[in-house]
Subunit: 216 residues, 2 copies
């Protein structure tokens, strides 16, 4: 009984995800699902990306949080459109929630739509939202053992942003070890070492993003 | 259907949790369920606690991780007993997993049994393991907005360890803001500002722990 019910939920999510993906293709908007632990710096990273690429890429954000709309407020402060989904306790976003949120943001005028998932390195990875690419953010203070301990999330990522590299020297983190493990899980992953705070290393990520939108 | 099934799962977990709690009471072992985001420093904190309190408190650890037994290895390196539960994808520990793990560790000879939950600030908070106290670890690099964004986890905590205070000055984190918000969610929570790396502030936490075991 448990299995069949879970299957049904996944099927419903998959169905909505397919519809979302078809819509993004039709309107020519690149959608990226951004996943990380709480506090890895997702919102800061997206806000800086929006600001630095202003005039080159039109970017909007769907924010997922258990409570509060503080992240959407931070994104709106950049001038970009943002919709907040409050999951009220749920540990991940679902494709259906994205479908509903698309009623509150004009995705067709955007080049890039980021979906900032609930801060959780486990559950969001099991739910396809209909995105074209999946971005995982891992910050230095979290430690270099995370790809081994949470392989499912890293194995499904198209991009890994290693964030807070401005803290190198203040925390123990072996970047080469992380890159080696992540490439074992996902050989073709794109990896960028960045600091959303100082701006260091962000250009590689911006080039990747622009390349994705150029292809649409 | 979904509601009744969830109810049933919770009931089974609750049943096991009650049995675990009765056992801990009977054998006079203080059990603490330690919850945090990935990378907040739980394992380092427990390893230091074991080492610093060696000769004063006998401590053992049940480790929960999605994959690998690296955390149990780190604990065993201190000389303390540790059992690893690999959840194989599940985002939290269940009371039943603790019951099974108790078959592999002699809890009766311990003063303190720590259960280090899966790194996840959301899901573990919904599952009672039969612990006497719940400990939440929040590290400075995660940001001071976490209690507002993940209120459920902080509202159920008996202790908050604000970790990595050695990084104050390198990251933005308003400790007073965190304490204010957490006390709104849980007025009687015990809060300690610590660095498991340098040892700073750990004595208050050790006193709290010794006080708990003295009462058993």
């Amino acid at each position: 009984m448990k299995v069949s019910l879970n299957k049904k939920i996944l099927d419903k999510n998959e169905e909505c995800a397919l519809q979302n993906r078809a819509l993004f293709h039709k309107i020519g908007t690149f959608c990226a699902n951004v996943i990380s632990s709480p506090g890895s710096g997702k919102t800061t990273l997206l806000a800086r990306t929006i600001t630095d690429l202003w005039g080159r890429l039109r970017i909007g954000v769907i924010e997922g949080d258990i409570r509060t709309d503080t992240d959407a407020q931070k994104i709106r402060a950049t001038g970009a459109p943002a919709v907040q989904i409050e999951t009220k306790g749920s540990c991940h976003l679902s494709a259906e929630q994205i479908t509903r949120a698309l009623g509150s943001i004009d995705a067709a005028i955007l080049d890039v739509l980021f979906v900032e998932n609930v801060g959780n390195l486990v559950c969001p990875s099991a739910f396809d939202l209909g995105e074209q690419s999946r971005v995982v953010v891992l910050s230095l203070p979290e430690g270099d053992d995370k790809p081994i301990k949470y392989p499912g999330t890293f194995a499904k990522a198209d991009v890994l942003l290693i964030n807070k590299i401005d803290l190198a020297g203040h925390v123990d983190f072996d970047i080469e070890r992380v890159i080696r493990h992540v490439r074992t899980l996902r050989p073709d992953i794109a990896i960028f070492q960045v600091s959303a705070k100082t701006g260091q290393g962000m250009e590689g990520w911006y080039d990747w993003l622009k390349n994705k939108t150029d292809r649409l």
